[in-house]
């Protein structure tokens, strides 16, 4: 028995180091895209089939299936795939490069609160 193994339980956390699923990479590919937490990701099914998703790992496919129906935020993908945000970003970079996903970036801060959007948000909240 390896020393210390008796201490492993659910609290010990994952037994595979998180960045193992990215092949040790902590940044996404050459493009170096930094995905915002609320960037919305949507799977491009046609492209995923065309390019042979077989090259991708199980975590890539898990992410693809999570955003297959509706666009999902990076934060949601991280929570639902049970992977740290940093890892999800690397994997999404791969998917983007392979053309398997579309990403819409959040509105740039400078033009953020268009008055009508805020009005809509307020009315929407009231109606909930």
């Amino acid at each position: 028995m390896p020393p210390g193994s008796q201490w492993y339980d659910a609290e010990a956390g994952p037994l595979v180091r998180p960045y193992a699923v990215t092949g040790g990479r902590t940044r996404s590919g050459p493009g170096g895209v930094r995905f915002d937490l609320i960037a919305l990701v949507e799977a491009d099914d046609a492209a995923a089939d065309r390019r042979g998703a077989s090259l991708l790992g199980p975590e890539h496919r898990a992410l693809l299936s999570l955003c297959g129906q509706d666009a999902r935020s990076v934060a949601e993908l991280s929570a639902d795939a049970d992977l740290p945000v940093g890892v999800v970003r690397v994997l999404l970079g791969d998917l983007l490069e392979a053309g398997c996903v579309r990403v819409s970036r959040p509105v740039p801060p400078a033009r953020l609160p268009d008055e009508w959007v805020l009005r809509e948000v307020i009315d929407g909240l009231r109606a909930l």
């Binding site: 609160p113 307020i122 909930l128």
Partner: protein
């Protein structure tokens, strides 16, 4: 190139058809009710996402010679409110401990605004958050979570005790109550709108009203 790919799908030209995601931060001291508030107003079960600290460079917590420990995770609560198809609010509970502040910089980027939860029994706990948002000119409201048994204070008293900039709204709330949480968010969005308009006028110069 992938960067262009991102740009090409940017919502800027796409107009109405594109999805819009707005980010609201929920800050405050430990135990002020951040997780509770996010959970009360979110339509999805409160999720926790984790960020690995080692990724953020040297700002790792002090592991004092514990060399094997290469990563630490910090959890952030988050929730979602769909206003309509293609327009959603995302709420992020900011990590409470001071040593995770570098995460705030990322979280606050592009944020519509913030809610600072205050507990009148430990008002000083929310000073750092108030300071942070004031310095970065991020619109925020202070929501006083009225814990049962705690003495209630008037909004003005809280504003004075926190030395808030004039106009910063103070709202009394019950973080457990969805309706109350919603009101807090409405006040915040209204305030963010006012701040934005004021800044536009400021940048355009005197006399140039929004036509």
């Amino acid at each position: 190139m992938s960067l262009e790919h991102v740009h090409s799908t940017d919502g800027e030209e796409a107009g109405d058809s594109s999805s819009l995601a707005l980010k609201i931060l929920v800050a405050g001291g430990f135990g002020a009710g951040k997780t509770t508030l996010v959970g009360a107003v979110s339509e999805i079960r409160p999720l926790r996402t984790e960020e690995l600290l080692s990724e953020a460079g040297q700002l790792v917590d002090d592991t004092g010679g514990v060399d094997q420990k290469t990563t630490t995770t910090v959890a952030m609560d988050f929730g979602r409110i769909t206003i309509r198809s293609g327009l959603s609010l995302y709420l992020f509970g900011t990590p409470g401990q001071d040593r995770f502040w570098f995460l705030w910089d990322e979280l606050s980027q592009g944020a519509l605004g913030a809610v600072v939860l205050a507990d009148t029994r430990r008002l000083e706990d929310c000073f750092p958050a108030v300071d942070y948002f004031e310095h970065r000119r991020i619109p925020f409201v202070v929501a006083v979570n009225c814990f049962s048994g705690a003495r209630t204070y008037a909004e003005e008293d809280v504003a004075r005790a926190l030395d808030l900039d004039r106009g910063t709204p103070v709202v009394l709330c019950d973080a457990r109550d969805p309706a109350s949480g919603k009101d807090v968010l409405i006040r915040m969005v209204e305030y963010a709108g006012r701040m934005h308009t004021a800044r536009l006028l400021e940048s355009v110069g005197q006399g140039a009203g929004p036509e």
